[in-house]
């Protein structure tokens, strides 16, 4: 079955600066994919390329369409939240529903109203009088009311308090994810979305350093909690990352790409690697971070 997103050798440059370098990945249907990366790693550039707002080199197919050439057709089957608080401030919520009804052929006004009834936002409310969290909820209700196959969310909860973020993700999971549709979501709050994700794309300085499902991450990467006394022996096994693990036996831990030898494993207790630790490991590792020079 054809993936919803297929990228091969995808590159994007702003003048002499390379924003995305030779990315290749697939996003199949029914997945919740986290797009992780530091500021400036290329997350927004990739998302804009996916919705046809940037010219790219290489091959890119989204829902079987070429985003740049078929942007309007693509956006009829793709829901996109580019950022928090981008709704027009002059509009009332009812006006936004009216506009979406006329502008989006797959938008259901009734569904949007139904979703909004579960929030504290009224149809007569003007966007400029809503809190940031409320604006995000309105935006999510609007895009969740689009009968789309793919949703792309670029830092949708940036700057929101924890309650608003929780409400957002609950609404996303309850009202949109149905096992058929896919979501690509970029965020800095890795810990908060880890439990939602099925797959991870990790960008570092425009390069894709990881593209795996969480099951494969569990299989491939090994975290080992160990006693400080075993630190030298663990370090000799060349882990990706050594870090403190408060609450774990010994208080120290190491992250390996692939299982270390039985002798090293015997030095501590095997743990499930956290996405945050993996993110830190892969975006700090010198050989991966090297972007220039020999």
């Amino acid at each position: 079955m054809e993936p919803l997103i297929q990228a091969r050798g995808l590159s994007l440059r702003y003048g002499r600066k390379t924003a995305l370098a030779d990315l290749s990945f697939d996003v199949p249907k029914g997945r919740v994919v986290g797009l992780l990366g530091h500021n400036g790693a290329g997350k927004t550039s990739l998302m804009k390329a996916l919705v046809g707002l940037h010219d790219v080199e290489g091959e890119l197919s989204v829902l079987g369409l070429q985003p740049r050439r078929q942007r309007v057709e693509l956006l009829q089957s793709l829901a996109y939240i580019p950022d928090v608080a981008v709704l027009p401030r002059w509009a009332r919520v009812s006006q936004l529903i009216e506009l979406m009804t006329g502008l989006h052929p797959r938008f259901s006004a009734e569904r949007a109203r139904s979703l909004l009834r579960r929030t504290s936002v009224g149809l007569g409310d003007q966007v400029k009088h809503l809190s940031k969290g409320m604006v995000v909820q309105v935006h999510l209700a609007l895009v969740a009311a689009v009968d789309a196959r793919l949703m792309i969310l670029d830092e949708p909860t940036l700057g929101l308090d924890v309650i608003s973020r929780k409400a957002f993700y609950e609404m996303l999971l309850d009202e949109w994810c149905d096992g058929e549709r896919s979501v690509l979501i970029s965020t800095h709050q890795v810990e908060e979305i880890e439990t939602l994700l099925s797959d991870v794309l990790m960008l570092n300085e425009g390069k894709l350093v990881l593209s795996l499902s969480l099951e494969d991450i569990d299989r491939r990467f090994v975290a080992l909690a160990h006693d400080p006394a075993a630190a030298d022996a663990v370090a000799a096994a060349h882990p990706l990352l050594r870090y403190r693990a408060p609450g774990m036996a010994g208080g120290a831990a190491a992250l390996f790409d692939g299982a270390p030898s039985a002798a090293v494993l015997a030095l501590g207790q095997r743990l499930r690697p956290s996405l945050v630790d993996l993110f830190v490991a892969l975006t700090r590792q010198p050989e991966i971070n090297r972007t220039s020079g020999p």
Binding site: L53, D83, L87, P88, A91, T101, L103
Partner: protein, 306 residues
Amino acid sequence: MTPFTTLIRREWMQHRLGWLLLMGAPSLLLLLLTLADGGLTIQIDDGAMRLPKMQQAPALLQTALLSTVVAGLTFGVALLAMAIQLPGLARRDQQDGSAEFWTSLPIGHAQGVSALLLTQILLLPWLALVAGLAGGLLVSGATVIATHGLLAWLQQPWGLLGAAALALLARVSLGLLLAAAWLSPLLLLPMAASAWLKRWGVPVVVVAVLVGTLLIDRRLSAPVVQPALQRLGSEALQALLRLGPLNPGGALQDLDWPSFLAGLPAQLLDEATGLVGRAATPAFVLALAGGALGFALLVLRRRRGN
């Protein structure tokens, strides 16, 4: 509703308060002036067309003249407002932070720009004209009733007045369309400059015009920039204001108004034919090309992102 009509509806939603003020304020102001003042004295065309004190004028003259004046004033105010605010509209979505919301919707860039231009350049002034005619009816009605009584107002030749008003509306609508086409380089290129150069857009256009008229033209054996600008302006004014049939000359109170109104639609139609003929020139094609360049630059700006 189609996406295009929805985009036009969006313009109304966003700007309706300003539009309603533009369309209603002139009528309200003239209503107050007409009722409060002892009479208006207006001279048009260097006194060739002489008006009496408005409150001493016959009812039909009051109705025809006040309706025309109010409609013309409302239309003129709307045109002026459009010309002033048009460059700023190129970046309004960036300024209110909603540009990314609009680009996330399945709307073509050209479609978005077209809806904005159509609404602001043609629809807004046209609606102002209609609102002005309606307001003129109100102002003239109040004046007639105040000076001649309700019966006089009811006994107006409404068929003739309606036909003349419709003919005038059609003539000015055509004039608006042609004036917008003639002026399209002057309207769209500053707008495009604003879209690309942000706050420097309009100053850059002004400097370019000054350089063209003060430096380049003087070095050429035959000036180009100033005559071109004058031609665009004069053609647009001709299209909008050259309403010869409306000026019968002489003292208006002595005119046979029913005959004049009855003949007006045919005269306006005849003049409109001549107006269209004036557009069949290379200059008009060049003006359209300038407008098309401005439009393309606006679309390209949207396509390249913000």
